[in-house]
Every structure is written in C-alpha cells, then in structure tokens.
C-alpha cells in the first residue's frame, strides 16, 4: 500500500470517525463502546470502499454501519439477558454493566428506556436531521415503520417525563 493511500485512510478517519463516534454515543450511551463501534464501523466501510457504489457518500455508509453495529450490540445484550434468565442470578455479577450514562439529564435517561430501534429512529431524526425516508434507508425499513418507531418513542419519552412536556 502506498504512503499516499495510507494518508488517505488517515484523512478519511479524521474527517468522519469523530462524527460516527458521536452518533454511536447517542445510540448506546456508552463512551467506550461508542468509540469502539465508530472504529469498527470505519474499518468495515473502508474495507468496502473500493466497491461502494457512491464513494462520495462515505459518511452515509459509515452512519448506516454505526447503526447496524449498535443494533448488533443490543442483540448481543438480548442474548445475555436470555441466558441470565435461564441460568439465574449467579452469573449476573459477571456480566458487563449497563452503559455508563454520565449525564443524568432527565431526557437523556428517558432515552435509555426506548427500544434500540426507537432510539435509533429518534437520534437519526432529531440529531442527524434525516428525513423519514433517509431514516428508513438507514434502518432498512419502511417509512411507515419509521413513523411508528418515532411516534412510539416520543410517546414513551413523554411518559417518562411525566407528561410535563406535553
């Protein structure tokens, strides 16, 4: 690999990885995990860079990969919970703790109560400012599903907030 190509990879990282990390953090609430997911997503996307249909849309590919990886993370946690249900509490203490939420802001904590897909839909809509169609593309679902996820998510947030925001 040429030095120029190496520099290109480093520049791509500098330009896109921090943003991917912020998105991952909003999706997971865990700083260390967010950094890991952003780096993993970068590695995966860069590996397919040559075959991307729209290399100029690197950011979009990276965003989608971050969302997929975070969903994979939550799926893994689902497996852990299932196992713990089965095996009883004796292993509970050995399982990784819940994401470390440093800011106890009410809304921020309320976000934790959402399902991963609801949270992803809301973060993509209200932080990334994506349209419903774009969110559907990222989540690989229909626009109707995005509307449903967002609506239910917002309802859940309002309930968590005790209805005070209504």
């Amino acid at each position: 690999m040429t030095a120029e190509r190496r520099r290109g990879i480093a520049e791509l990282y500098s330009a896109h990885a921090p943003g991917a990390g912020r998105l991952a953090f909003l999706l997971t609430g865990d700083r260390d995990l967010a950094e890991d997911l952003a780096q993993e997503a970068f590695v995966r996307v860069i590996g397919r860079f040559g075959s991307l249909r729209k290399p100029e849309s690197f950011d979009a590919y990276l965003r989608k990969t971050v969302v997929n990886l975070s969903r994979g993370y939550f799926r893994k946690r689902r497996s852990e919970r299932n196992y713990l249900k089965k095996e009883g509490p004796r292993l509970a203490a050995q399982v990784s703790p819940a994401p470390d939420i440093s800011n106890k802001d009410e809304i921020w904590r309320a976000l934790e109560s959402l399902t991963p897909r609801q949270r992803a839909a809301i973060v993509l809509r209200y932080y990334e400012d994506l349209s419903e169609r774009q969110v559907a593309d990222v989540l690989d679902c229909s626009v109707g599903t995005v509307k449903s996820l967002t609506s239910r998510g917002m309802d859940a947030l309002r309930k968590q907030m005790g209805g005070e925001a209504e």
């Binding site: 990282y13 921090p18 912020r22 689902r78 050995q94 991963p116 925001a165």
Partner: protein, 253 residues
C-alpha cells in the same frame, strides 16, 4: 416542546463526546488490511471465475436456478426459542430464535429475522462459565433468494462470495448435531452448516445452505447437481491460518 428539548439534549450530549481525530495505530492497521484483503478477494474472484469457465463447471444462473419460492420460503416465526423467550426490545418483531447449541464450551445462539425483505441471520456466542465478556457476529441483510440464484450456498458475509481459505465447519444449528435444520413455512426443512473463518483480526461466520451437505464437509453443487470442490479456489498462501480455538473474550484484536 419535547422535540426541541430533545434536540438540545442530543446536541449537548454529542458535543460532550470527544473522540480523537487521529486514528489509533491498530485501527489504521486493520483498515489497511481490509482494503488490501478486499482487493485480493476481487482478484481471487476473477481467478475463480476463470477456473470455473475452464473446468466447465456451471454455477446456477438465474435461468436455471430452482424456483426461489420453493427453496427459500418465508420463515415462519416459531413461538419461543429453545429457552422460551425472545426479547422484542432488541430484535425486530419477526425475530425467531432458531436454536442454540453447545460448541467448545460455549452456547451458540442463532436467530433469524427479516428486515426490508431480507432474511437476516444472527449468530452470537458466549456464556461459558467464568466468562464475563462475549463475542458476537452479526450478518447484514443478505437477500437470500439472490444468493441462492447465484450459488447453492448462502453466505452471511456477502463480501467474499466464496468461503475463504481456512474456513471450517463448526456445527449444525441445533441442539442435536445430527438433526439441525431450518424449518420453513411450507413445512420443509433444510440442513444448515455454520462455518467460521478467522482473517487474522476477527472471525467471520457463514451459514451454508445446500441441498446436500454432510458433517465435516462443505460442498456446493453446480446446476447439474455435481459437487464443486471449493478448495480448488485456494490460490494464495498468504491468508492466515485459522486458530485452533475460539477467542476467550473478544473477537477483535
């Protein structure tokens, strides 16, 4: 009101998250490896196609492929998995836990779900006693019918198109190694193999479907039902050899 507050909170939290814009050495190394490997895979693919042409082995084409509706019917949700529950918080509503099996001291959990018309397969492992962390691998949505039209094997990793060098059979998707199959909505069942490969950095898992597979073997059939020896595609010696055991903590370096 809550939308505005929410946007403010999200932006505030995002701004509070800092991540170095300088890539860690390990990340750069992995990125370079990926780029190089992808290029190599492309070259291998061309070589493999040439090999196929020369040896007159015809893979399935769109025209002579079996009827997709028979080969890949919609997967019917099974009520509960082997352990009786599916957490809908983390998986789509249509997720089905197909089965779990023991291998090398771990419980392997296999789940399928459909997303935007794609059948997705998720494989995770963990849960050996005294372990505190887990590795898992996920597949992205692989449109199985499309894969089936290409070849009699569906791969979780769409990147390679062929099982990589060193890929190895690790087990059936079942609690009984001799009776593990995926059941479809029309009542038909299909044997499944899980194959893993270690690329020097992480594990890649493949789920292989074929009308005729046998334990310890990995075969693909051409359109005439003849066996295609995939090992014939090993044209390089620089691929890393797979390790002899699974990692104990994390799949990545």
């Amino acid at each position: 009101v809550i939308e505005t507050e929410l946007q403010g909170v999200l932006r505030h939290q995002a701004e509070g998250f800092t991540m170095s814009s300088v890539p860690p050495t390990a990340v750069l190394r992995r990125a370079r490896t990926r780029v190089t490997a992808t290029t190599a895979v492309g070259v291998l693919g061309v070589i493999a196609i040439g090999f196929l042409a020369m040896s007159s082995v015809q893979l399935l084409s769109v025209e002579d492929a079996p009827e997709p509706s028979k080969r890949v019917p919609r997967i019917v949700p099974v009520v509960g998995g082997p352990d009786g529950s599916i957490d809908e918080d983390s998986l789509p509503d249509n997720a089905v836990q197909l089965g779990s099996f023991q291998f090398e001291g771990r419980l392997w959990d296999f789940t399928t779900f459909t997303d935007a018309g794609n059948t997705c397969l998720h494989l995770s492992w963990s849960f050996a006693e005294n372990e505190t962390s887990h590795g898992s691998d996920e597949c992205s949505g692989v449109p199985l019918p499309e894969v089936f039209l290409t070849r009699d094997i569906a791969l979780l990793e769409p990147l390679t198109g062929l099982p990589p060098r060193g890929a190895e059979f690790i087990g059936f998707v079942s609690q009984r190694v001799d009776d593990l199959k995926i059941r479809y909505s029309d009542g038909s069942v299909q044997p499944v193999q899980i194959i893993r490969n270690y690329d020097g950095h992480q594990y890649h898992f493949f789920v292989a479907f074929a009308p005729a597979i046998s334990a310890g073997d990995f075969v693909a059939l051409d359109s005439n039902g003849r066996r295609v020896d995939l090992q014939a595609f090993e044209v390089t010696d620089d691929a890393p050899a797979p390790p002899t055991s699974l990692p104990t903590t994390d799949i990545d370096e």
